[in-house]
Amino acid sequence: MNPGRALTVLVVVAMLAALLLAALDATTRDRIARNQAQQLMATLQAVLPTDYDNEPHLDRAMIAVPDGPGGADALPVYRARLGDEPAGLVLTAVAPDGYVDAIRLLVGVGADDRVVGVRVIAHTETPGLGDGIDAARSDWILAFAGREAGAADPAWALRRDGGDFDQLSGATVTSRAVLNAVRRTLDYYRMNREALYALPSVDMD
């Protein structure tokens, strides 16, 4: 067939598809952003202590330090306060060494230097195996709750690595990646506790 005509057909089809998607993207974008904000608030609540009177999802600072929890990427930290006193904060952590891809986590620490909770916010781990890190799929991630965050813990490793954390069965790499990311994040928290609460808050977007 005539290559010019073939090209025209392909270009027209591609443009129609692009138009359809652009229109749909414009109509769904706000809704998706709202959903994501709502989900963020719900997840923050799950990893924060109950006693605070500000809006942690708005009290947000960005940290970008090479030895920080996320490497060079700027990651948000959310602060909860009761009056002017620190009530707890939530660090975003990235486990770059997940089985499939990087895993993003929220690590919540109370003002008493204890881990309130850890939740996965984005991952692409293997369904049925590594996706057990998702609190909706298994209770594994709840094992972090209540752990001491104020001092380095030598037992902070999987049992097979000499520590005292169980692993998800069939997902050693995933478990180890999450565990190490949380440990690095808490190390960072210990060194920068006061500074994290004092960082100026930045607006969304």
Partner: protein
């Protein structure tokens, strides 16, 4: 299966040429997402939507698309529809979208869809192609739902877990236990359970088809 009769076309997708149980197409999502009934239903609905839309459009444009251009054009169309379904699910079924994860975008690679476009819709009028898409979509979705229900009931002892993701707050009340707490066989929810469950369904379908063909007085039709 050479009939253009819409009704027969539709029924064929449900039984004789069921994509999940007979053609054994699209097994990757079929095995992976059917950990619960609702997951299966969600992906089933998404697949029906994409299959109907792609079949219809492929049939409608069959006179303008040169055979040499078929594949790139179909892939473009299907990818466009899948992205659209992905956006809609992300906006209106946020939790379900999170729960199905990568498998909504992966509908693009589901061979059922390209297979129906290529084998059927590209040479039939629109109504027949739509009936074909609906039949095969429903047939595929039915397998997803039945396998999901089986694995959820045996593996977790519940049914309709996570129904709130699809039906809102009223749906959340749909969940109920079929087995007492603590009595379940987690294997059913894992990968081996998916294979065993699918094998059981395929065997069951073959058994029924054989019985039906053997029944005296039945139009001794070639049932596979």
């Amino acid at each position: 299966m050479n009939t253009t009769n819409g009704n027969a076309t539709f029924l064929s997708g449900l039984w004789q040429t069921n994509p999940g149980l007979v053609q054994l197409l699209g097994l990757c999502p079929l095995l992976a997402v059917t950990t619960t009934l609702i997951n299966g239903l969600g992906l089933g609905l998404a697949t029906i939507a994409v299959l109907c839309a792609s079949n219809t459009l492929v049939a409608a444009t069959r006179h303008w698309i040169h055979p040499n251009l078929r594949l790139p054009v179909y892939v473009l169309l299907i990818a466009g529809f899948v992205s659209a379904v992905d956006l809609v699910a992300h906006a209106w079924f946020f939790d379900l979208h999170g729960s199905l994860g990568i498998f909504i975008p992966l509908i693009v690679t589901n061979c059922v869809i390209l297979g129906r476009a290529e084998a059927f819709a590209s040479r039939r009028p629109v109504p027949a192609a739509l009936a074909d898409g609906l039949g095969h979509g429903l047939g595929f979705a039915a397998v997803l739902v039945v396998l999901g229900a089986l694995r959820e009931a045996i593996g977790r002892g519940t049914l309709f877990a996570g129904a709130g993701m699809l039906f809102g707050d009223t749906g959340a009340a749909l969940e109920f236990r079929v087995l007492p707490e603590g009595v379940s066989l987690p294997l059913a929810g894992l990968a081996p359970g998916a294979f065993i469950g699918l094998a059981a369904l395929v065997a069951g379908r073959n058994l029924l088809a054989k019985r039906r063909a053997a029944r005296p007085g039945n139009r001794a039709k070639r049932e596979q």
